[in-house]
């Protein structure tokens, strides 16, 4: 249908629209008009993606000069594909309505692993290996060698692309990963490089967060995206963690050992080259004298090694003399690695600032800050010069070089923590150096500065005011939308006590208490007897999950549970977990019913949807506070307190509640879906926790359901499940939670939508 959103003609590819989708468009348009950033929360399953796409495409068509490009960042490949499908639908609708081909090019970009069509390389399973092998076939020196000697293998697809692909841009249309591969097959062009090349002139680009947030990758992939773009971060509730992860480095003893090996390889290669071809090294030396920027002439295929964000003025400078020759640099690297090794030989935990670290490295091994800064760039240059084609072995050394560069570049917002052993196993020596980013705004700052509009959206962003603080930006629009429903299809409940009236809580003091564990067990057994098909349970940590399951086993609760449903457990092993998931789905599909025990913040809680029968109920055992004894977290909390005036407790509760909400949201994936949400902890009923739940959950959390015992909860479940099982058709939704064009235009509905927009 065609909508009029505040004066803008929007083509919406469906016959019906949810009222909240319309409100969402209104807010989004306001943000685009203001050329500012915005923060929008709308429950999952209400068609966020299609709403975003249709409004932004319409805006691009109406104001082609103000808004040239949409960059849509998503988290996983399946999500990426979903976005492309919605976009395709939208484009088909445009074509049908306008009666002509649309001049819009949209494409998805992913790693080489997902895009490679080389017959043997694409068979590799690990992303790093694919990258390495691709590099060994497409690096410029390999190709140069091939020109001299036909026996050197190269990738024919890349050659094809290099020869012809750059002149002929991709015809307009929507390309997902498979389309790109197919196109590449027919043209014999490499789809990966084709996609990367096309990014600069495509109208809509869909890719992963990391292409924009991780400075190492962003530098290469997203450098040339114009300023008048809108950037959308979907499912962005964890965006601060992504930012932090992309800037943090972790160095273990094993990694350092591998570094020593790589250094020896470097040494031997250098000495060999000296004998055969000393000219090349000299040439490099001269280049380095002239400055780094020239050294990194955009030879795109040599992207495997890039430096983290360096202020560009440093790149213009010449590389310091101490590391200019290859031998000196290798010796320098050796010293750095050895120094870190000695630092790891500690008996107690050390925490220090980057400045302290720099002073120490200067006094101990006489390394200045300046050469340290150039480490990453210098290493990249060296590897290029030495023409080492197999890069996979060098990744440890690259990590160390990144660390060296980062530590000497940033003195604020980072900390170094060296732990001689893990807290859980204090007898086993396992020293680790964490170079941890404390400030999530560092990585995302360039994005906010560069693009005119950044949209951060997710199903669970509450409390909204925290994000502008921790990401350090000023949104023009900050809104949370609720879900209009024709029937009450979520049932959130807070269960605070068992049938024996003992309070349930995962508080540290009571978590070993058998009465609490037993009550949790009884709650699960009774819910399992009353709820059909799939139930997903979330615990606060793997450790807690393990202790609870073992005492349930002793108490016979596991046996009782298995009478009703099969039991599956998420573990830290990804392969094991995916096997458990497959069988869980199977058990739900054929009616046996299943319970999945998993962990908040785990893989299951983040990426996997349990729609319809796969998740009829979600149980949250305890509040998923992050492990508060962790020194990295302590450091971050301190930093947040000093820099942003965020109290420790506020941040911890915020973090716990967004993860809880994320877990609860797993079971709701649309308006025809329904699910029970049980929050099993006494503390959830306190106002500070409850008020931090997303609005769409809070709305249905009645006061009477905030302090239930197990039995009351089960009674409510039973009655509610029967109601939900009654036939429910589209007609029931029409006019309330689903609107036709006429209904949308009716004055009454417009008034309601206006109210909704103001209410939040």
């Amino acid at each position: 249908m065609k909508l009029n959103v505040d004066g803008l003609l929007v083509y919406f590819p469906y016959d019906y629209i949810y009222p909240e989708q319309f409100s969402y468009m209104l807010e989004l348009k306001r943000a685009l008009d203001a050329k500012g950033h915005c923060l929008l929360e709308m429950p999952s399953g209400t068609g966020k993606t299609t709403t975003l796409l249709s409004l932004i495409v319409a805006y691009m068509k109406a104001h082609p000069l103000d808004l040239t490009k949409l960059v849509y960042c998503s988290r996983t490949v399946p999500e990426l594909e979903k976005v492309m499908e919605e976009l395709r639908k939208l484009m088909n609708y445009y074509e049908k309505e306008m009666g002509m081909e649309q001049n819009i090019l949209g494409l998805a970009l992913s790693s080489r692993k997902n895009l490679c069509i080389h017959p043997s390389v694409s068979k590799e399973r690990e992303g790093k290996v694919v990258d390495g092998r691709c590099y060994s076939l497409t690096a410029s020196f390999v190709r140069a060698r091939h020109a001299a000697d036909d026996a050197v293998p190269i990738c024919e697809f890349y050659e094809g692309f290099d020869a012809h692909g750059k002149e002929f841009p991709l015809p307009p249309g929507v390309y997902n990963l498979d389309d790109l591969k197919e196109y590449g097959q027919t043209k014999r062009w490499c789809p990966y490089f084709l996609a990367r090349h096309t990014i600069t002139h495509a109208n809509i680009v869909v890719y992963s967060y990391h292409y924009l947030l991780d400075p190492k990758i962003a530098e290469v992939v997203s450098k040339e995206i114009s300023k008048s773009s809108v950037v959308v971060f979907d499912e962005a509730h964890n965006i601060d963690n992504v930012c932090i992860d992309s800037m943090s480095v972790k160095i273990t003893k094993r990694l350092l050992d591998k570094c020593s090996n790589s250094i020896t390889i470097l040494e031997t290669t250098i000495s060999k080259m000296k004998e055969n071809d000393s000219k090349r090294l000299e040439k490099e030396y001269k280049r380095l004298v002239e400055g780094l920027r020239d050294a990194t002439i955009a030879r795109e295929t040599d992207m495997a090694l890039v430096n983290p964000v360096l202020p560009s003025e440093i790149l213009e400078e010449a590389v310091p003399g101490t590391i200019r020759t290859a031998e000196h640099f290798v010796a320098f690297l050796k010293r750095v690695v050895e120094y870190i090794k000695t630092r790891l030989r500690v008996q107690h935990v050390v925490q220090e600032s980057p400045a302290g670290f720099l002073r120490d490295i200067h006094t101990k091994v006489c390394i200045d800050r300046k050469p340290l800064r150039f480490t990453a760039e210098r290493l990249a240059s060296l590897i290029r010069t030495l023409e080492i084609s197999d890069l996979t072995d060098f990744s440890p050394l690259v990590t160390v070089s990144h660390f060296a560069t980062l530590v000497s570049t940033y003195t604020k917002g980072f900390t170094i923590i060296i732990e001689p052993f893990e807290d859980r196993a204090p007898t086993v020596s396992n020293p680790i150096l964490y170079f941890s980013c404390l400030d999530s705004s560092i990585a995302i700052k360039p994005v906010f500065n560069r693009f005119q509009t950044v949209v951060i959206t997710s199903g669970t962003l509450s409390p909204l005011d925290m994000y502008p603080k921790i990401l350090d930006f000023h949104p023009v629009i900050m809104t949370s939308f609720t879900m209009t429903l024709a029937r009450q299809c979520i049932l959130p409940m807070i269960v605070s006590k068992g049938n024996d009236q003992v309070a349930m809580s995962s508080r540290y003091e009571t978590r070993e208490d058998t009465a609490v564990i037993r009550n949790y067990g009884n709650l699960l057994v009774e819910i399992a007897a009353a709820v059909p098909d799939g139930i997903v349970c979330f615990f606060t940590s793997y450790l807690y999950l393990e202790t609870i399951v073992s005492s349930w086993y002793d108490q016979g609760i596991i046996d009782q549970l298995q009478r009703h449903k099969l039991l599956f457990i998420e573990t830290q092993d990804a392969a094991e977990t995916s096997l458990a998931l497959i069988n869980y789905i199977k058990a739900c599909d054929n009616g046996r019913g299943a319970v999945l025990l998993s962990v908040a913040r785990g893989k299951v809680s983040e990426g996997i949807d349990f729609d319809h029968h796969l998740g009829r109920a979600v149980l949250m055992f305890g509040i998923p506070y992050v492990y508060t004894q962790s020194r990295i977290l302590r450091a971050r909390l301190e930093y947040l307190r000093d820099q942003f005036q965020i109290r420790e407790n506020d941040f911890l509760t915020f973090d716990a509640m967004r993860h809880a909400a994320q877990c609860l949201g797993r079971c709701m994936r649309g308006k025809t879906d329904y699910g029970i949400m049980v929050l099993a902890d006494k503390r959830f009923s306190r106002a500070d926790k409850r008020s931090k739940l997303p609005k769409w959950i809070q709305e249905h959390l009645k006061d009477t359901n905030c302090n239930l015992s197990t039995e009351e909860c089960v009674q409510i479940c039973k009655r509610w499940l029967r109601q939900m099982a009654q036939p429910f058709s589209r007609e029931d939704q029409l006019g309330i939670s689903l609107l036709t064009l006429e209904q949308l235009q009716s004055e009454e509905m417009q008034k309601k939508i206006q109210q909704r927009a103001q209410g939040v």
Binding site: P532, H564, N590, G591, L721, A725, Q726
Partner: protein, 404 residues
Amino acid sequence: MADEDETKEYRWESGYEKTWEAIKEDDDGLLESNVADLVARAKRKRAALKATGAIQLGMMRHLFVVVDASACMFLQDLKPTRFLCVLKLLEVFVHEFFDLNPISQLGILTTKMKRCEQITVLAGNQKTHIEALQQLKDFSCEGEPSLQNSLERAMNGLKNMPAHSSREILVLFGSLTTCDPGDVQKTIKALKDNNIRVSIIGLAAEVRICREIAKKTGGTYNVLIDDHHLKELILSQVQPPAVAGSIEASLVKMGFPGGTPNVNDGTCDSSADHAPAYCLCHIDSETSSLMGPNGYNCPQCGSRYCELPVECKQCGLTLVSAPHLARSYHHLFPIKPFMERSRVPDTAHCFACAKLFVEAETNVYECENCHQIVCLDCDLFIRETLHTCPGCASDPVTAQMKTN
């Protein structure tokens, strides 16, 4: 639940109803007219019929009723227990079923301990079924049910039934889980291939696999709200379903056994017909005794049966009596729903029961054919029980037209 007053649960047992919210005052601040209106609407809703066009109905039905007898059937959310409540309702169902579908057959299965047990075989004798159901009451419920085993069992029983009959399975499923030996999808496919329709009534909550089975085999899936709703759901299965298009119409050979010797007409003149003989319905049971001269003889092979309708065990002929066929007939020509009209003052009383219309009753119902006016109660009675309009039947002209 046949007698509503007797089984009315205690207030503290029933759910929380906000009855006052449904009542609103009218313009004069009175409640009375509103209450009457509510009652009438509820009644009318019950009788709301799907508009039945000229569709082919499976009048010869072969139905297996599968009763869940797993541990969860001992729960007391239906009074006294789920199991007893279901059995009691099934008795009503069996009775109604044979009343409306005299030439059909029914069998009963139970499932517990991951197995399926046959309680009665497919037969057209309602007495044996009701007796079996009564015996089931002392049955213990334990273990988990197996949907697949019961469906397979029922399918084996139905597979060899003639193609022109409709094959159905009705599952009363209390459990939320099923413990199956193999892939239930294969069973669903086999059911579909055999043209067997599976309807399921859930007693607790929506189970995905049940919905899927019902959807794929063309049956219905419903979940009860309370015991009254359950009764409605079970009784809605009494109406014969519309036949899927693939079944071809065919002629069915039927036997009309001669009457008892009291009715001494030409069909049963041979003296052998009246000689004492074992009745074939009960020949397997230990209590069988030599029958007197009463009974029905198969016109083809002469075997004796004590009840009709039945399929002859000797020669396989379907034995019915003419009234049975006549009773099945009304499914084919349901009377059209009466039109609701506001009451006009000149018709003072109901055509059917001659009751005077009172002020509170605002709506009356008119037959499209004969334009006679009846009251709400008669409308329901005609639709649910009588299946013929008294106005049309008493008018010689329209009655003639209808039979033509």
